[in-house]
Each structure stands twice: as C-alpha cells, then as structure tokens.
C-alpha cells in the first residue's frame, strides 16, 4: 500500500485566517474565545464563542459567489485555497480525475437555515432566497471546493457530529493509500455560531458561560467555535518525485462506535479507536509523543478520554503529552478535527506542542501531562488526533513526522 503525505494545509478559525497565524497563536497559547457578535445575542444564556473575527466576506468573494455560499462553505473555500497553493498542485487532465474532496461537517448551512426560518416565521415573509437549498445542504462546501479547483474524483461530505472531520480525513487517507485516488483534499468546516445553532446547544446544558478549560478540575463545559481546515493528502512517492514539501505523514486511521449512549462517551469505544489507529499505522504506543485530545472541557468527555488514553497506552500514558487546543479555538464541531490536525503538524514538523490553556487545577480523574497553559518544545515522532462524537462515533488519526 502507498504512503500518504500531507503537502498542503489551509485554515480559517478563531485563532487566525491562515495556517501561519493559527500556528503562531497556538505556540503563544493565545485564546480566540470571546464575546460573540451575533444577532439576538441578548436572548442567549451562553454569550461567548470562538468566532472568526475581522472577517469581511465581501472582500473574499463576489456578490454572485456569496449568493451561493453559506459561511461554512466560504470557510472551506478559503482553507482549501491556502492548502492547494501551498501544495503547488494544479489539477489538470488526468490528475483531476484521480483527485477528490472529502470534508466533514455537521450543521450544514445553519446560518442560512436560521435566517430563512426567521424570515418566514418571525418576519411573516412568504418567500426566501432562491438558493436556500444549495446553500444549506451539507455537501455544499465539498462541492464548492471541487468546483473551485476542478477536482473530478470522489467527492462528498462526512457527517458524524464532532468526529466529522476525522472521518472525512480518515476516508481520504484510505483512498490515497489504496490507490483509489492520487490526491485528496480533506478536512472539515463548520459555522454554527448563529442564534438557532447556539439556542439548540444551550438546551443540553453542557456549555460553559465563561471559558473552555479542558482537563482542569475547574472546567465547566464546552465553548463552541467555528471555522475550517483543509489539507492536501497526496501519494507519498508522487509528492517526493515532484519535490513537494511534506508537512507530515498520515500513517493510520481507527474508528469505532460505542453502540451505547447517544451523548455519554465510553472509555471502551475511545480506547478501541486509538488502538485501531496505532495498529493501522504500525506504531508501538511508546513511539507516540503527543495526543491531540478531543478535550471538550465537559466533565464527562475529559474524564472518559483520560481513562481511554491510559487504557490504550498503558504505562506510556504517563510519558505522553496530551493537549486540547479547543481551549483556544473552541469546539468547531464538524470542522474541529481538521483545525486540530494543525496542532499535530506543529508538533511533528515544528517541534512545538500546543498547550491546553485555561488550565487552573489538577483533576485526579485527568492524571495526564496536559501541557498546561504554555506550549512546549519537544521532538515528536508520531502523534494521534482524537475525535469522539455524540452518537458514540469515534475517529482517530495517527500521524508521523515526515
């Protein structure tokens, strides 16, 4: 089977509008979470989030593009463009036919849905914009990216809530590895920070009113974010032959289902996904230096995830660095795994392990090195990136340094 290289990366999220600014923020342990600037915020009990700020959609897209692209599609297009530019690829003739796009997403064009329902229900209007359906459909972002770059191979959206991006990237990895495709754009996008999107989350009562503090004894819930990250996954030999810079190697993928509770996580399901990724990559647990945790900052996730890491890694768990960058960019739901893969690239390529910020006090249920509050310089040969979704769906990627 072929090896899979990452030859491009792009993003837009609460920490930055591109990869260099995002990695710098992660290095500095900067917090992108703050007061939300959205309509009807006064009617929400949760008023903070990892919102993309300083973003002028009309500066990035034409009027006719904006008519077709919800915010989550815009984010995906911006991230994909940066990734493709970095890879140096142009998709012509044969390569276009053997290249595709798999993006994770959970909410679809939620702002479009929110605005349109408001128009017909609250404002009493009897018509909505003619492109509401193509804007809100979950595959809108993947389709727009394939069109923007002329990718004509396998293209679709993976929807598994908070694991969507990892499932998307895992499948893209398998396609390149197996030879089904030569290049895949993979990642995810989400833009749920609108009144309806947040109102729905409020109901679960798992949101923090003040900050995301994963693994800290003082944690009190998750904070929602938004954004996208997209990567170029390429056949390793092909990338090497054309002299491309390889950011990291995607080495393995593991997934599992808890088949238990719709919202409560399971140690066993998470452990099996991590073990699966290690085995698929041919990695011994002690080769792994870093785990990018799902680390939502809820009581249940963090406790369960730490137990799963301990079970999957045994004695080596105590020597691992395990951080949650959601403390900085928030939980970008279906796009979060993709944004978090940037933290893995930081560790593998730059030797900088991004921190878990907001950490205040040790929790006996989370007895791991969570890289509290400050990034750490370390040589990391391999890492895992965890995503555990509502619905009990787990997806873990394994990466090696190039």
């Amino acid at each position: 089977m072929r090896r899979v290289a990452i030859t491009g990366a792009g993003t837009i999220n609460a920490l930055g509008h591109d990869v260099p600014s995002t990695l710098e923020a992660m290095r500095e342990g900067r917090c992108g979470i703050g007061p939300l600037d959205i309509r009807d915020i006064d009617r929400l009990s949760v008023q903070i989030g990892g919102q993309v700020r300083g973003y002028d959609e009309s500066a990035r897209f034409t009027r006719s593009q904006l008519a077709l692209h919800d915010r989550f599609t815009q984010f995906a297009l911006i991230a994909a463009e940066e990734a493709v530019d970095q890879s140096g690829l142009s998709f012509e003739s044969e390569l276009a036919l053997r290249s595709g796009v798999i993006l994770g997403n959970s909410g679809g064009g939620l702002s479009t849905i929110d605005d349109s329902y408001r128009a017909v229900y609250a404002e009493g209007k009897n018509r909505v914009h003619p492109f509401v359906v193509p804007r809100l459909m979950g595959n809108a972002a993947a389709s727009a990216v394939s069109m923007a770059h002329g990718l004509r191979g396998p293209t679709f959206t993976a929807a598994s809530a908070c694991a969507s991006s990892n499932h998307a990237m895992g499948l893209a990895f398998q396609m390149v590895r197996s030879g089904l495709a030569d290049v895949m754009l993979a990642g995810g996008s989400e833009a749920m920070l609108c009144f309806g999107g947040l109102k729905a989350w409020e109901g679960l009562r798992v949101m923090s009113p003040d900050a995301c503090r994963p693994f800290s004894a003082t944690r009190n819930g998750m904070v929602q974010g938004e954004g996208a990250a997209v990567f170029v996954f390429e056949d390793w030999d092909r990338a090497q032959a054309r002299g491309a810079e390889i950011l990291a190697e995607v080495a393995g993928f593991g997934m599992s289902a808890d088949a238990g509770d719709l919202v409560a996580p399971s140690v066993d399901g998470a452990e099996r996904a991590m073990r699966g990724a290690l085995a698929d990559a041919g990695l011994d647990p002690d080769e792994v230096g870093y785990v990018n945790a799902h680390g939502t900052g809820t009581a249940a996730n963090d406790r369960t995830e730490c137990a799963a890491v301990a079970a999957a890694f045994g004695n080596h768990a105590g020597r691992l660095m395990v951080s949650s960058t959601k403390s900085m960019h928030g939980h970008a739901i279906g796009g979060t795994g993709a944004i978090e893969l940037l933290a893995c690239i930081s560790a593998l390529r730059d030797g900088v392990v991004p921190p878990t910020i907001g950490w205040e006090a040790p929790d006996p249920d989370c007895p791991l090195d969570v890289v509290p509050n400050a990034a750490r310089e370390a040589k990391v040969a391999a890492c895992l990136s965890n995503a555990f979704a509502f619905g009990g769906l787990n997806a873990v990627l394994a990466l090696r340094a190039a």
Binding site: G203, L204, R205, V206, A264, T298, A300
Partner: protein, 85 residues
C-alpha cells in the same frame, strides 16, 4: 396543583412512575433518572413555571439549583418562581 405537586408530576413522568410513588427524600438516582433525564426535567420545569433554572450539567454541584433530592428541587423551584415572578 401546587408547586410541589407539579414538580413531582414532572419528575414522576421522567421516571416513568406514578406521582404517588415519588417521595421528597428520594434522589434522582433512586428514581433512575440519568444526566439526560435531569436535563429534560429541568427543561420541563422551566416550561411549566416559566422560569429560568441556573443548571450546568457539567457541574451540578456548583449550579445554583440543588438537585440532591426531590425535596430540594421542589424548594429550589419555589424559590426561583418567587424570585422571577
């Protein structure tokens, strides 16, 4: 129905029990109500009494809404209803 009876009716419905089988000294765990059931009960209480209940499922013990027993919930709802009337 008074506040006590209405709260007990909501909890009984969540626990799939007859209200007469719910006593004030019982805990939600005694009644087989899990964390999702608690969140649903809090929602039902908010709707029934038109109040806002300060409850974070991550940190129930630090929320300003005592769910340690059926009786404590009744008292908390009486207090909130009076405060927010």
């Amino acid at each position: 129905m008074d506040t006590r009876e209405r709260v007990i009716a909501i909890i009984a419905q969540q626990a799939l029990l007859d209200p007469s089988d719910v006593r004030e000294d019982m805990t939600l765990a005694d009644l087989g109500i899990d964390s999702l059931g608690i969140v649903e009960s809090v929602f039902a209480i908010e709707e029934a009494f038109d109040i806002r209940v300060p409850f974070n499922a991550n940190a129930p013990e630090t929320s300003d809404f005592d769910i340690s027993s059926v009786g404590s919930i009744v008292q908390a709802v009486e207090r909130l209803a009076a405060e927010q009337a």
